[in-house]
């Protein structure tokens, strides 16, 4: 995972808990470690801070936002035990509970949100490209942090795949809409042969932004279990 994505960088990862993170990941010099071990046994505040750092690591791992250089140490030191498995189950559970359910995402997308999404889509269309122009950013905030893109199927002789630019910070969800008017598509989004999200039947797929990283994605539309259209795009961050 690239380090340039803010929270995914080790340097930017809770700098207020740097010492605790160093301890947990086994990166503290031996002398410092011995002193710190004594402190965390004697002092509840320090022990609590290590727990907090540990929880941040598990949450980041569950969200796929753990800095790459920490992954091996984290898996070896903290995850490879029954306690680690239970902690990861909590991190996944809390993450799942903090998101709307897939069904809710699909079917309770009503009234104001739908209208606002349409407004944003119109703004994108006005720009004539598949990325929001500068003026659309406030609109993206207003639609419950959903950023909408409409995709055209890959055609023969297509010069290049479209680039989708994520609005920074404000976006929580990315909604991909396929151009074909149909109500019987099953949609599957894949990055590097890894399944990211599935939805349907319908013509749109909504994904939590935190599941997305820059890269080339393939969205496949299935009709009656058979792939009927492909939509490829590159997701980029500003």
């Amino acid at each position: 995972m690239p380090d340039s994505l803010g929270p995914d960088s080790a340097r930017n990862f809770r700098p207020d808990l740097a010492r605790e993170l160093e301890y947990l990941l086994g990166q503290m010099p031996r002398v410092d470690r011995e002193t710190f071990q004594g402190q965390l046994i004697e002092n509840s505040d320090i022990s609590d801070r290590v727990v907090e750092a540990e929880q941040e690591l598990f949450d980041a791992y569950a969200r796929n936002r753990l800095p790459g250089e920490w992954r091996a140490a984290f898996e070896e030191r903290l995850l490879s035990t029954p306690e680690g498995r239970a902690k990861l189950a909590v991190a996944h559970g809390l993450l799942r509970r903090s998101r709307p359910s897939t069904r809710r995402r699909w079917w309770i997308f009503s009234g104001l949100a739908a209208t606002a999404a349409a407004a944003v889509l119109l703004l994108f269309t006005t720009c004539g490209i598949l990325r929001p122009c500068e003026s659309t950013q406030p609109a993206a905030v207003a639609i419950e942090e959903t950023q909408v893109f409409e995709l055209a199927a890959i055609t023969r002789g297509q010069a290049q795949r479209p680039k989708l630019l994520l609005v920074p910070n404000a976006t929580r969800y990315l909604e991909l809409r396929v151009a074909e008017p149909a109500d019987s598509f099953e949609l599957s989004l894949v990055l590097d042969q890894r399944s990211i999200a599935k939805a349907g039947p319908g013509t749109s797929l909504r994904v939590d932004r935190q599941l997305l990283e820059p890269g080339i994605y393939l969205l496949t539309a299935f009709r009656n279990g058979t792939a009927s259209n492909y939509y490829e795009f590159e997701l980029v961050r500003p």
Partner: protein
């Protein structure tokens, strides 16, 4: 790890007295807090049986006190004993047990209806409503958004950020313990029953 004799009443009384020498604080609370910190320490150090190691540490400290050893700072003494117990425990664990390197695939949300998910929902629903809400609210978002959100939560409840954090940490630890027990019981349920033929042979 060489186990000392089980804790007897005089040793336990000596430990409680040392944890609250002037009687101003609750010795039982101090004991529980020390045991919790020790369990955490042994977990982070990679001991496979952190509760046992914590109890062994407490036993050794208590027996020294009961034997009349003059210990000025019982917590500092306990931390020295704990480091020794950790070294012994880790030495005793096989290499595989100590740092069993498992190669995990890239993390992704678990498939619906996995044992982890069922145990999470079961353990979460066992919490009182107010605790459940606090927990779910506290761990929303990530990074900077999370910090700002927690500040708002503390302000809304009119408590310090530290108090809020402590409550959330404890609740989450409780949830983790409950899930671990749930996963262990599910594992036992699916394990084949031990054949009793040997007993009859």
């Amino acid at each position: 790890m060489a186990l000392s004799a089980p804790l007897d009443q005089p040793s336990f009384d000596a430990l409680l007295a040392a944890l609250s020498p002037d009687g101003s604080s609750n010795a039982a609370d101090a004991y529980e807090a020390l045991r919790l910190r020790l369990i955490r320490f042994f977990t982070w150090e990679g001991c496979t049986l952190p509760e046992d190691a914590a109890d062994e540490t407490i036993n050794r400290v208590a027996q020294k006190l009961a034997a009349g050893e003059k210990i000025l700072n019982v917590l500092a003494y306990a931390s020295g004993v704990a480091r020794l117990v950790a070294k012994e425990a880790l030495r005793g664990q096989s290499r595989e047990q100590h740092r069993q390197v498992l190669h995990f695939p890239a993390p992704k949300p678990p498939e619906p209806d996995t044992a982890e998910q069922r145990c999470f929902e079961q353990s979460l629903s066992a919490l009182p409503e107010e605790s459940r809400q606090l927990l779910l609210d506290y761990y929303k978002f990530d990074a900077q958004a999370r910090i700002a959100h927690r500040n708002r939560m503390a302000a809304d409840r009119n408590i310090s950020l530290n108090s809020l954090r402590n409550r959330a940490l404890r609740l989450r630890e409780k949830l983790e313990t409950s899930i671990r027990q749930c996963l262990e019981s599910k594992r036992r349920d699916v394990s084949p029953r031990r054949d009793t033929k040997d007993d009859h042979a």
